[in-house]
Symmetry: C3
Subunit: 168 residues, 3 copies
């Protein structure tokens, strides 16, 4: 099994590229959405993502307990797409969880999967320093999670304008 | 003829690199500016850009009808530099145009050119999620335009600190 | 001697990577911090950076006169890590110094060193255009400094999620 991390900016085509990577493998597939459909904008985005995928995908919405989902025995051998780590980090922050501990548990769970895993994450640190301390903390946490998952991934891609650059 | 997309951040040297690519070809050249000189800051930037280019450049300022300019018969065989798609996207948004339709028309026009084309565009999606919905929509539109033009381009470069990385 | 520029976003792992590059060389080493410990957040960050380094590092805090430090005879042959150029640019701006002149002096000083130099800098231009003119000016200055130092560097790396991509 291999673990792939697909990094990119907003509307960089990273999710679409991650789906294309998974779709090369035999299905059925598991899609793990860390986003919750809280407002209409998010509902629209989730519907758009859903419409791009086919019938042999099962969808799990899990904002926090990502390592539990990753370890479910019924999905252990299926290709799994997790979209995205940045929203997961944000969810952990707002729920006042220990992000470093959650990340360590996820890392361990990923290496125990039988099927391939593709994780999507946003790069959010390449703009101007945010004004407020909470946003700065979020940016730091998101960057740290990216570094940790990149360290255990077999392959890391940076997607620009829909095109992948190989980082690892 | 080849189509090259040069992506990069603010002050990444992307315009200068795009000009250098064009200048390797025999002139005369066409420079298409999508920015309008609305305030002094913009006037200064346009003047700076202009001063970097030589005498065998003709300049066209066109905020919206980019495909018309691209298709002008008198420039069909000349190397053309379009700077930049991000401002064009912003102009289309504020004029309440159909951006997807404009993009499709531009794609078709680009593939019909006889001369080489170099397009410059900003990557704006690698920072923190903007607070307001309009800015988020702009960021999404700009990212989608980049993906679409990158898909039809023969070559895509990502410029960092004045240096190009080949993406495609 | 070689000059290496390590670019990256916030929490991209750029400083850690730069330290790893230096640590491959024989010590003792010089660490030049351009940041000043003005608030508790910054104090924490500097302490974190310091705790990652070993005993054979000497630390110099210099917010403005970077070329003076680079030229100190007692450190001329030692590997030097400068972290970071973006904060230096910000310091120069607030002190109303001539940034272009300071940059030219630094470039000259770097090429005269006997030991290797690794400079760290932030890429800050890949997000949405900032609202206010001062922040836009800072972004432009930071981007221009990155381009200038990249032009004289022997090697330029762009760090994403802790992993270096070779730009030059």
């Amino acid at each position: 099994m291999t673990v792939t991390l697909v990094l990119g900016g907003a509307r960089s085509g990273k999710s679409r590229h991650a789906e294309a990577l998974i779709a090369r493998l035999p299905g059925p597939y598991v899609y793990v959405a860390t986003g919750e459909a809280r407002d209409t904008e998010m509902v629209d985005r989730i519907a758009l993502h859903r419409s791009r995928r086919g019938m042999d995908w099962s969808t799990i919405e899990e904002p926090l307990e990502l390592s539990d989902v990753v370890q479910r025995p019924e999905h252990a051998a299926q290709p799994m797409l997790i979209d995205c780590l940045t929203l997961w980090t944000s969810n952990l922050m707002f729920a006042e969880r220990d992000i470093a501990a959650a990340c360590a548990t996820l890392e361990a769970a990923l290496t125990r999967r039988q099927g391939d895993t593709v994780l999507v994450s946003n790069e959010v640190g390449l703009g101007i320093v945010p004004d407020n301390a909470l946003t700065r903390r979020f940016r730091d946490e998101a960057g740290t999670v990216n570094q940790r998952i990149a360290a255990v991934a077999d392959r890391v891609l940076f997607v620009v304008a829909g095109l992948p650059m190989t980082v690892k």
